[in-house]
């Protein structure tokens, strides 16, 4: 199997969209458990709703991977990897295939040649593999999650609004 085409430029505009550290709130486990201990509903991650119909497939994959509890949870979140944009030095993990097309174009490639096949798995399967390091021969330390286009800017704008209101 040949290695990827390594077409993703460095820096790729999509990969340089980062929210500031102040914009993204991070909770430690203890804080999170305390904050939600009295809440009796579900906590869910919601990706692009257009991929909601992929949930049964993702749940089946989770179950087949022995992740029964995750398969029974009320949510799934697909992540997408694509060979043509991955290399030993960078493995972008897309939260939406829309950004794959954008990355492809940013790499100076023709839109009509954009990859048509993606690898899709639930994010919890990916995290499990990143933790175990056993599967797929992927250089996990080179993984870079690519959020929705504009998400980082929006996070920054929320932070600026919050700062302005205090």
């Amino acid at each position: 199997m040949p290695l990827a085409h390594r077409v993703l430029p460095t820096p790729c505009p999509l990969l340089t969209q980062r929210a500031s550290r102040d914009a993204i709130r991070v909770l430690c486990s203890a804080e999170a458990k305390e904050a939600f201990k009295n809440f009796e509903g579900d906590l869910r991650l919601q990706g692009d709703h257009r991929f909601a119909d992929q949930a049964p497939k993702l749940k089946r994959m989770l179950k087949d991977s022995g992740m029964e509890a995750e398969a029974e949870s009320p949510w799934t979140l697909p992540v997408f990897l694509v060979q043509e944009l991955s290399s030993d030095g960078l493995v972008p993990v897309f939260l939406n295939p829309r950004e794959i097309k954008e990355a492809w174009k940013a790499a100076g490639q023709k839109e009509e040649d954009a990859p048509q096949k993606y690898m899709m798995i639930d994010i919890r399967m990916l995290v499990k593999d990143m933790r175990s390091g056993e599967k797929r021969g992927i250089p996990w330390d080179k993984v870079r999650f690519v959020g929705a286009d504009g998400a980082a800017d929006f996070a920054n704008s929320l932070q600026q609004l919050a700062a302005a209101s205090t």
Binding site: A32, A52, S86, M119, D141
Partner: protein, 158 residues
């Protein structure tokens, strides 16, 4: 310091306040998008076909991914957490004086769910729908940003 204050405030909110605003069921379809007529996020049919026909799981991964000769090691929990937290998610938060905390929505299938959105446009749409939901209490709402790592931990019960 500021983070601690926010978390403690959220913790002090009772479940009943967390579901504010209540009358949103007819507006929301969690994992189904807006239920207000025209789909604001129409899916490209060709793309959907691609997903239906070509997206696959482990088998595809074994064949398709690069770096087969690589033996890169295991990442620590913290390393994974840090990578995930570079991606923002967006949650709906009540900012009234009486109660500050994440606001639960009513999913299509019923119940209550606090949702962390990956798509900013969907988060904005949900915020606007709830602002226009005619909530008598007029609970002030805003979107807040939480790292994907934190959100994933929350949603995974860890």
């Amino acid at each position: 310091m500021r983070l601690t204050a926010v978390v403690l405030l959220a913790a002090s909110v009772s479940a009943s306040r967390l579901v504010t605003p209540a009358p949103v069921r007819h507006h929301l379809r969690i994992r189904g998008g807006a239920d207000n007529g025209d789909d604001p996020f129409p899916l490209d049919e060709d793309h959907q076909t691609t997903l239906d026909e070509d997206v696959s799981g482990d088998v595809a991964a074994e064949d398709a991914m690069p770096g087969e000769a690589s033996s890169s090691g295991v990442l620590t929990e913290q390393q994974i957490f840090d990578k995930l937290n570079e991606v923002p998610t967006f949650g709906l938060m009540s900012t009234s004086k009486e109660s500050t905390g994440f606001v639960a929505l009513t999913p299509k299938g019923g119940g209550r769910a606090i949702v962390f959105f990956l798509e900013p446009e969907e988060a904005k749409a949900v915020l606007e729908m709830n602002k226009n939901a005619g909530d008598e209490q007029e609970t002030p709402l805003r979107l807040v940003c939480l790292g994907l790592g934190s959100a994933l931990k929350l949603c995974s019960g860890r």
